[in-house]
Symmetry: C2
Subunit: 306 residues, 2 copies
């Protein structure tokens, strides 16, 4: 078993060509930049990666490109949870076979108000079918988007049944009370809790969490890593305030993913980076200008980006 | 171009083996029973088909089995709308190539609160990439589940740009006012409106709609077809009341899809039909008993089912 991931992980945005095809070259370049500038791991194919706008084949192609390009599989935590059981099994088995440190798994998210029993069976079927003790499964709780929550009761059942496989959670509820409740219930039994946003990083570390997996790490990995490393120092609050400020600028746009891509496009001097797949829409020119002005006014930099 | 579908369409439930694999033999048998007992068309791979719990490959396999088994493609309206643009294109092109009468397309449903511009681009990209004038596209409006609506403004833009391709809508909002608004706005320009439930059948026909695509048609195609054919007769209200009564019994269960499958399992004497894929859960024994008792007390039959 590879070492458990901790620290700052980026749900890497997926670049597309103008023809809306996944762009493996830009993707590999961005992943390497992230690892060189503060990310300890890459949660590729998350919500911010437009992963659900990619087919299973496109995700597998990109993952293989990463590994073949020298990105260590031990630093990868690809998203593999789909609506279809067979897709989740296929992607998870593929990730484990490539040696990925873990997978970040959404619940099936088409049907709403499904019982915990059905979600337990969903995760359980994937684990049983993949049937590989190397699997490290991180649950992905993001009710504002998926609309299907991962409850404490579900975590408890899964941990009891698969204690060596169920490794942790990304809590993107945006609700600190939920993160605290998960930490209280499971934090002391080797269940790793990642905050779903850097705004909860310091609170999460102080409460026993292991880091964050956050959109903002796509553009500010250095800042967030500094806050992560300094969480026990006298500067902890100031470092947290600094990353909060950048996050606020990004969130001020109507949509986070286009804002992240516009930021990369600007600092890399590479306009094509702004491309998103439908149903997302890129920022309008005035939104882009407002974003860049705010970032520059805050003294924000992306050192070495291209 | 094949004749436009109208009347009663069933979003066919998808049978699974006990190992949770799609069961092509039972599927073909059920489709043929539906066409022989009142359905004018089959909206396979809808919400009630657990379509989003199937991979693209599984859907294509089942569709090919249907056509090869002699089910006329001209009576098929498969669901082909996925979260991933590339999957939607692949499934839609496959359906058109097989000669299907139309496709029923969900909007991409992972991201919520996306702008109409993004949804317009989603549908538009599929149409442009499939690039086949035989394509008849029906929009699938089901905000209670997809959480992503098809607005009047979006329909207007799509109809204006693709008047010969955009053929109609299934309105599963459960909100008659919305169906009425769609009929008022587009009903007179060859835009076919299907009610998403048989409870709106009579109102829809009187207001200029063309039929319904409804879960209940999986088990009561004969009753719903009778109400459809009789909508201009003095018995119209009584026929509507009769299908409402059956619908109420089905809806009394916690979950429609397991209730439909349990009903088929009972009347066909084939327990395996009850199987659902996670995250759905089959009815408990007492729920099943209550359902069957209520159907029998109402004199409900499924003539010729096996």
């Amino acid at each position: 078993m590879t070492k458990r991931l901790e620290g700052v992980l980026s749900p890497v945005v997926t670049p597309f060509t103008r023809e809306l095809a996944p762009d493996a070259a830009r993707f590999v370049r961005h992943c390497k930049w992230l690892l060189a500038h503060g990310c300890s791991g890459l949660a590729v194919f998350g919500t911010n990666s437009e992963a659900n706008s990619l087919s299973a084949e496109e995700r597998m192609m990109l993952l293989e490109e990463l590994v073949q390009s020298g990105v260590p599989a031990g630093q990868l935590m690809p998203g593999t949870g789909c609506c279809a059981l067979t897709d989740s099994v296929r992607l998870t088995a593929h990730a484990v076979k490539l040696g990925c440190a873990g997978v970040l798994m959404l619940p099936p998210f088409y049907y709403k108000s499904v019982p915990d029993e059905g979600l337990f069976r969903s995760f359980s079927e994937v684990i049983e079918r993949v049937a590989d003790e190397r699997l490290q499964l991180y649950l992905y709780h993001i009710p504002p988007v998926a609309q299907v929550p991962i409850t404490l009761g579900l975590i408890e059942r899964l941990l009891k049944r698969y204690p060596k496989i169920v490794a942790g959670i990304k809590d993107s509820s945006g609700d600190w009370n939920n993160t605290q409740a998960v930490l209280n219930a499971f934090g002391k039994q080797g269940f790793d809790v990642f905050a779903g946003s850097e705004v909860f990083l310091l609170r999460n570390m102080r409460a026993g969490g292991v880091g964050c997996i956050t959109a903002g790490a796509n553009v500010n990995p250095h800042g967030i890593d500094k806050a992560y490393r300094g969480w026990q120092t006298p500067e902890a609050e100031a470092l947290q305030a600094a990353i909060d400020a950048v996050r606020q600028i990004l969130q001020a746009q109507v949509s986070m993913i286009p804002a992240l891509k516009a930021t990369i496009a600007h600092y890399a001097g590479d306009a094509e980076w702004s491309t998103v797949r439908p149903p997302l829409v890129e920022l309008a020119a005035e939104q882009r200008a407002a974003l860049v002005n705010a970032l520059q006014a805050a003294g924000f930099e992306m050192p070495g980006i291209r």
